[in-house]
């Protein structure tokens, strides 16, 4: 049952995603000032939360990898950074579309925009280092991931500290009930997709590592 959990997550996410999309676009009223563009909010916010969660998971797993030389933790960190990369890309693509419709410009240089882009860049740097770095780069990449995780609270508080135009952190709580009712299925669907892909990717990375190890063992035996 535990082995099937990733697949179950993905299977459960499929109808939920379809339901969320139809609910958001057909049964949720338009926001008064922003109109249809506000619908992006239902996907943008969950992806924004997911990139932060993935960066934190990546940082914690990297810390464990650095401290205990755990290969499994290394796989978790890499999988989290890859998912953080994808969700970050989603946030950075949907944000400017929403910004263009509401602020009249896709990029205002707002603190939240810049710091999210930076977090995404840290994840890109982590991936580059893991793939193209020298022999000791795993340790270095771990340190980078830890700094990325430290960046998360800075992003969260950026809205408060820098007095930006970006909606505040309490915006979900202030939604009208009919909009909030559409937000939770979207969040759940995207979280299930992320969890499923995350678990599948960890398994894949771990198996690749096991395969490497088996090959090294067979070479040792042959020698």
């Amino acid at each position: 049952m535990r082995r099937l959990l990733p697949e179950l997550c993905l299977i459960a996410a499929m109808p939920l995603l379809v339901y969320s999309v139809q609910r958001v676009f057909l049964h949720t009223p338009n926001e008064r000032t922003m109109g249809t563009a506000f619908k992006i909010f239902f996907f943008h916010v969950p992806m924004g939360w997911l990139i932060m969660i993935m960066a934190v998971i990546c940082g914690i797993a990297a810390g464990v990898q650095l401290r205990r030389r755990s290969r499994r933790a290394g796989c978790v960190a890499l999988a989290a950074s890859e998912l953080g990369f994808v969700t970050g890309l989603g946030v950075l693509l949907t944000g400017p579309i929403w910004g263009h419709a509401t602020w009249g410009t896709p990029w205002t240089g707002d603190a939240r925009q810049v710091s999210t882009a930076l977090l995404w860049l840290i994840l890109v740097a982590y991936l580059l280092l893991r793939h193209y770095g020298p022999r000791t780069s795993e340790r270095l990449a771990s340190a980078l991931a830890i700094f990325g995780a430290v960046n998360v609270p800075i992003i969260y508080y950026a809205v408060k500290v820098w007095k930006t135009m970006h909606p505040s952190n309490e915006v979900v709580g202030k939604l009208p009930p009919e909009m909030r009712a559409s937000f939770w299925p979207c969040l759940l669907a995207l979280v299930l997709v992320a969890l499923g892909l995350f678990a599948v990717r960890i398994r894949q990375l771990y198996l690749a590592d096991e395969l490497d190890e088996a090959w090294v063992r067979s070479q040792d035996r042959a020698a």
Partner: protein
């Protein structure tokens, strides 16, 4: 106390080596002047209002560029003479190595800033804000450089112990240090505008510096030499890779 003494001795050795040929100070200082000249040629024709917006960026971009150049060179010296390995094998506290290298880089960066800030003041009228509040400017530059050096030393040292690929320092360092540089940008803008909130911003930069410095110091040993080895079944495997399947 012993750790601080070791750091002092290592820093003194680095400074003595630098005083023999002034290699780091001259190259980084010259690079700073070149950047200043390029900025002047590119932005002098802009309106004075635009200078206020551009000046913080010019200041911290220069620090970021010069910082990477200095960090690379500080550890290249050790690598060329293969002395980093000797240093790690010697009974020297790893934190002392970190403090000494960070101290050396900070000295070079601050010397470059001593050229950079007056240079910006002379070249751009908006730079008069620096002269109007010299203590706040000095605090801002020191805090910005300390944070940058704290993170930069960790990653430059990590790359120096690997086999080449120093170019990765640019890939790693800029995204990691940009939150700090963002704070520095906001503070510089407040300083040039004469905003009284500059003191609060400086306080936030102190907090950020403490976080970055503590984190980097905690991670330094693990990044440089790795955690204590586990039993051989799991050790030494990560370096070996299977060849690509045909």
């Amino acid at each position: 106390m012993r750790r601080l003494r070791q750091a002092y001795l290592l820093l003194r050795s680095d400074l003595r080596q630098e005083l023999r040929d002034f290699e780091l100070v001259l190259t980084a200082g010259f690079f700073t002047v070149v950047l200043l000249a390029m900025f002047y040629l590119s932005f002098a024709a802009l309106q004075a209002k635009a200078h206020v917006a551009a000046l913080p960026g010019l200041l911290w971009l220069t620090v970021a560029f010069v910082g990477v150049l200095t960090l690379t060179r500080v550890f290249d010296r050790e690598r060329e003479a293969d002395t980093l390995r000797a240093l790690l094998a010697a009974p020297v506290d790893r934190l002392a190595i970190y403090l000494a290298k960070a101290g050396m880089t900070l000295v070079v960066l601050l010397l470059c800033s001593a050229v950079l800030v007056p240079g910006l003041w002379l070249m751009f009228p908006a730079g008069a804000g620096f002269a109007a509040q010299p203590w706040a400017t000095a605090a801002l530059v020191v805090l910005g450089c300390v944070g940058y050096v704290a993170v930069g030393t960790l990653f430059a040292a990590g790359l120096a112990t690997g086999s080449g690929k120093n170019t990765l320092l640019f890939v790693i360092l800029y995204p990691v240090t940009t939150p700090l540089l963002m704070y520095a940008l906001v503070t510089t803008r407040a300083l040039l505008d004469g905003d009284p909130a500059v003191v609060d911003y400086l306080g936030q930069m102190v907090a950020l510096d403490v976080i970055l410095f503590t984190l980097a110091a905690l991670l330094f040993e693990s990044v440089l030499v790795g955690a204590a080895a586990k039993p051989p079944t799991h050790a030494a495997r990560s370096d070996r890779r299977a060849p690509p399947v045909a």
